[in-house]
């Protein structure tokens, strides 16, 4: 059955809320994971307490210990006493983080350009979140509303918000607007460190956008489409016409994955490309003068674009909604599609689970890299981008065109 206009709008709204809810929950959990992962990699504990009285909610003592942070601290202490869940001891930290960001004084520097200063975090945030309109978490309907459900009975709840036929370009276009948040925010702060950080970051993003787009052209050429769903499905599960083309395709996807992820790291200003906020040179880079909610907008948009990069990499190179990465799924399906074991047959079908698992793994890679790699110098950064990545992606593009011609 086809939904009426109002039903359609209501379902779209619900889907938007679901996607935004997913991203907004993932971001604080990611900050927790970041502390934890880097703590383990660097053989230390990570956050074990928040500000406030150490014994927190314990009755009495001082006035201070009855504050919210004191209570959180007590909760963390309590979590640490249990054998298995003590690993989650840092988890309440994200509540403290959110509280801190919400209640901090919102300072606008005296000589700042006020309108632009307020506008730029909003720009960064809008650009980072609008991208999710074209990302498809699951190719078809996620579930159908049960028939007795009021008003929406029998209608599908899709795993994607929109199915645009230029979805990939939409993602790239909207994401490219995000750089204004950084540059304008840096300029409007009217301060030296932010301006230097903003210029660095803008130069970096503009130069890495070229190899990023070129590396995404490989799946575009191989599939002959710009639609997110179609591209990810065909990259994952297209049966190659002959073995040689299939092997070439898999190798190309393997190399392309690394090139794309490298560019993605640079686009999101993450280590080892986080020169824009190199704390030993630039205090905190473009957001030095920002505090409170405005700072958290930048923060949220950075983490949201990490999720975007992970989603694109897993959709186009790691097999998207299917189990196996690099276009190996057809071979797997060949053997196990009609397997008598239900679980093996199930691994041949697309599922949102695989996609989310890949996203989580790539987010872990973001943190892993941050904990291990040192930062690039500015000239090294530009060398990597212009002298290595762009030629590599051009060669990959030509090979992809040849493979397409052979297929």
């Amino acid at each position: 059955m086809t939904p009426t206009l109002i039903q359609y709008l209501v379902i779209s709204l619900l889907q938007i809320v679901a996607v935004l809810g997913f991203v907004m929950t993932l971001v604080p959990l990611l900050t927790f994971a970041e502390r934890k992962v880097i703590g383990y990699v660097q053989v230390r504990l990570g956050a074990t307490r928040v500000a406030g009285g150490l014994w927190g909610a314990q009755r009495g003592r001082t006035h201070q210990s009855r504050t919210i942070t004191g209570g959180l601290n007590g909760f963390m202490w309590w979590l640490g006493k249990w054998p298995v869940i003590s690993i989650l001891r840092g988890l309440p930290m994200f509540i403290a983080d959110a509280l801190k960001l919400l209640t901090k004084e919102d300072i606008v520097p005296t000589d700042a350009d006020k309108a632009v200063f307020v506008l730029s975090p909003a720009l960064a945030m809008v650009a980072a979140f609008t991208v999710f309109a074209a990302i498809s978490f699951s190719p078809g309907a996620l579930f159908y509303f049960p028939a007795k459900f009021p008003f929406l009975g029998g209608l599908p709840f899709n795993g994607f918000l929109t199915d645009i036929n230029v979805g990939l370009l939409f993602i790239l276009g909207v994401a490219s607007v995000g750089v204004y948040g950084i540059v304008l925010g840096a300029w409007a702060s009217n301060s030296k460190y932010p301006l230097l950080g903003g210029l660095r970051s803008a130069a970096q993003i503009v130069s890495y956008e070229v190899p990023l787009t070129l590396s995404l052209l490989v799946p575009v050429v191989l599939t002959g489409s710009l639609n997110f769903n179609e591209m990810s499905t065909r990259m994952a599960a297209d049966v190659p016409v002959n073995g040689l083309v299939g092997i070439g395709r898999s190798l190309l996807m393997f190399v392309g994955f690394f090139v794309y992820t490298t560019c993605g790291f640079a686009e999101t200003n993450r280590t080892p490309f986080d020169l824009a906020e190199a704390e030993n040179e630039l205090v905190a880079g473009f957001h030095t003068e920002y505090s409170g909610m405005k700072f958290s907008f930048f923060f949220l948009s950075e983490y949201a674009s990490m999720i975007t990069v992970s989603a694109l990499a897993s959709a186009f190179f790691l097999g998207g909604h299917y189990l196996l990465p690099f276009g190996l799924q057809p071979a797997w399906n060949h053997f196990f599609q009609h397997s008598p074991y239900a679980i093996l047959a199930w691994t041949c079908t697309p599922s949102i689970l695989w996609f989310l698992l890949k996203i989580f793994f790539l987010l872990f890679v973001f943190l892993w890299v941050r904990a291990t790699l040192p930062r690039y110098r500015y000239d090294q950064l530009m060398n990597v981008g212009w002298k290595f990545l762009i030629p590599y992606t051009l060669v990959m593009f030509v090979i992809a065109a040849l493979l397409r011609y052979a297929a």
């Binding site: 206009l5 350009d113 309108a115 632009v116 506008l119 645009i164 036929n165 230029v166 370009l169 939409f170 790239l172 276009g173 909207v174 490219s176 607007v177 750089v179 204004y180 540059v183 304008l184 300029w187 301006l195 210029l199 803008a202 130069a203 503009v206 956008e209 710009l226």
Partner: protein, 182 residues
């Protein structure tokens, strides 16, 4: 409400068009160069919105990617790096007023005529729809396919000539920049 939603494409086109004109106004009239660039950016995004409301989604998104994401960033870069106040004191701006006024008048007349023909003329009905016939595509192609067929098959020669013109501009810019240094 229902009426608004039924004609949503046309209404959005008018809305985005007016917003784009507003952005262009900010571009021209604001005192600060960075505010001008923001107006320019806004205007470009609204033009992309216009394309989208005409169901030319490829063109709209390409507009976003190329203009908003690339060209305006370079404008912003230049504006931020060049200290404009120094040039303002020298009085090199607003010196061409006597040429500008007649040119603006002529431009208003020409574009007014074009708009009048497009909005109220004989072809006004067709003007606000994407015409498959223009790109020489008979079957119902996707947007990207239709545009690329137009560019790389039907109009390949004008397209290549245009790219040569861009190359000339590029070489000219390099020559101008070099001559200062030698």
């Amino acid at each position: 409400m229902e009426k608004l939603l039924v004609n949503i494409g046309q209404n959005l086109f008018v809305l985005f068009g007016l917003l784009a004109v507003g952005g262009a106004g900010v571009l021209i009239f604001s005192k600060s160069a960075v505010h001008s660039v923001i107006g320019f950016l806004f205007s470009m995004i609204c033009v992309a919105g216009c394309f989208l409301s005409l169901q030319a989604e490829f063109l709209g998104v390409a507009q976003l990617l190329v203009y908003a994401g690339g060209i305006v960033v370079l404008f912003l870069f230049v504006v931020m790096l060049v200290e404009l106040t120094k040039y303002q004191e020298k009085g090199i701006f607003q010196t061409q007023t006597k040429f500008a006024i007649p040119l603006v008048g002529a431009g208003l007349l020409i574009f007014g005529g074009v708009f009048r023909a497009a909005l109220f003329g004989a072809s006004a009905e067709d003007a606000l729809t994407l015409q498959q016939g223009l790109v020489g595509a008979t079957e119902n192609l996707g947007n990207a396919q239709a545009v690329s067929r137009g560019l790389f098959a039907n109009f390949i020669l004008p397209f290549e000539i245009l790219s040569v013109i861009l190359l000339v501009a590029l070489v000219g810019a390099i020559v101008l920049a070099k001559s200062e240094r030698v």
